[in-house]
Symmetry: C2
Subunit: 213 residues, 2 copies
């Protein structure tokens, strides 16, 4: 089962690595990191690169597609090879998935129209502009489309999918090997739980970035 993790300049590393470490540990999984061109792909802070082993054309029939997110300005949402690839491979996938603002890419490719989906909490309105029905859940499954909330939610999404694809024991094995028994030292991981002034400040920053873009 080929798991295609799509990279693009300015992606967020944990968005890609969470699903990779969970789905990639499934029995029979063949993860592949791909990008428009093979080679190092810089992350959202520019100095950290993951190496794409394959180009888009090298991966015409993935079983699972994983689209990580990144700051909105970095997402290759204009007509071009990335959206073309997403549209071309989607009919053949068993699962098409995203983490964080990766769902905006799926949306821009026209794949989430009329579907329940999620994204980073700051981007739910943008997701709606692609015709999706945004929910506040952490992992949203609508048919074969699985979208996850911000960054770290890719681990929960990955384990959920391992369970669906390979069964509960495979998912529990991956969880135990990753020692995923989270104990966050703070309780500010969602806009409902974080202090209201912090949430308001980030909403403002993200809206300003959008109005400039």
């Amino acid at each position: 089962m080929q798991i295609a993790v799509l990279l693009f300049p300015g992606f967020t590393a944990l968005d890609a690595v969470g699903p990779y470490e969970t789905l990639g540990r499934m029995p029979g999984a063949e993860p592949v990191l791909l990008a428009e061109r093979p080679g190092p792909v810089p992350n959202d802070r520019g100095h950290f690169s993951l190496v794409a082993e394959a180009s888009l054309a090298d991966v015409p029939h993935p079983d699972v597609v994983v689209v990580p997110g990144g700051p909105e300005a970095n997402l290759p949402r204009r007509p071009g090879p990335v959206l073309d690839w997403l549209r071309a491979v989607d009919p053949g996938t068993v699962w098409t998935t995203s983490v964080c603002t990766g769902s905006l890419l799926l949306g821009a490719a026209g794949l989430l129209r009329g579907r329940r989906a999620t994204s980073h909490w700051t981007a739910l309105d943008v997701l709606a502009s692609y015709g999706a029905d945004p929910t506040g859940e952490r992992v949203v499954t609508d048919g074969k489309y699985v979208t996850a909330a911000g960054v770290s939610s890719g681990i929960d999404m990955g384990l959920t999918l391992v369970g669906r694809i390979a069964g509960d024991e495979a998912a529990r094995s991956a969880q135990l090997l990753l020692e995923y028994d989270p104990q966050p030292p703070y309780d500010a991981g969602s806009p409902e739980k974080a202090p209201a002034d912090l949430v308001a400040r980030f909403r403002k920053i993200y809206e300003e970035r959008r109005s400039v873009a």
Copy 2:
């Protein structure tokens, strides 16, 4: 504040990326990925590389050292440049940290003697062989040495340290931006919680690997 994330061939990606995404988002943080030689460093499954921007010699005075882990056979625990670097820079660090079996490297460098520490749950006995006092906690702080349990615990460790270094608000900001509100779909993330037969099977596999190595 320079955050030095040490890479070596065969490291586990999430071990490095969890602390990077948390500590690296601190105000004033300057994360740097380094390795014995700059360039792509393959992960524990060989086909996924992170690019080290710097060599060991390029980073003589890091403020924070982060040592990820990997399968025990991959850890550069023999006398050589990696252990030499750890011993050389440690007296100047504010925090010396590890994720997963990265603590075995700190142990091999002689930095954990007589200290409370932790590691991946399968490696606690090996950690003890370096004179450390292993605990079952997820994040263990003893003086300036902070060790975390398996793989995903690096996120909890990173947020803990952001709080210590930059304050609670910086830690809550990082948590909110990463949307770290974990909702694992299973409850098998520690040997205490996972099914006993699964735990026993993995213990056996890890012991066999050790006896072969």
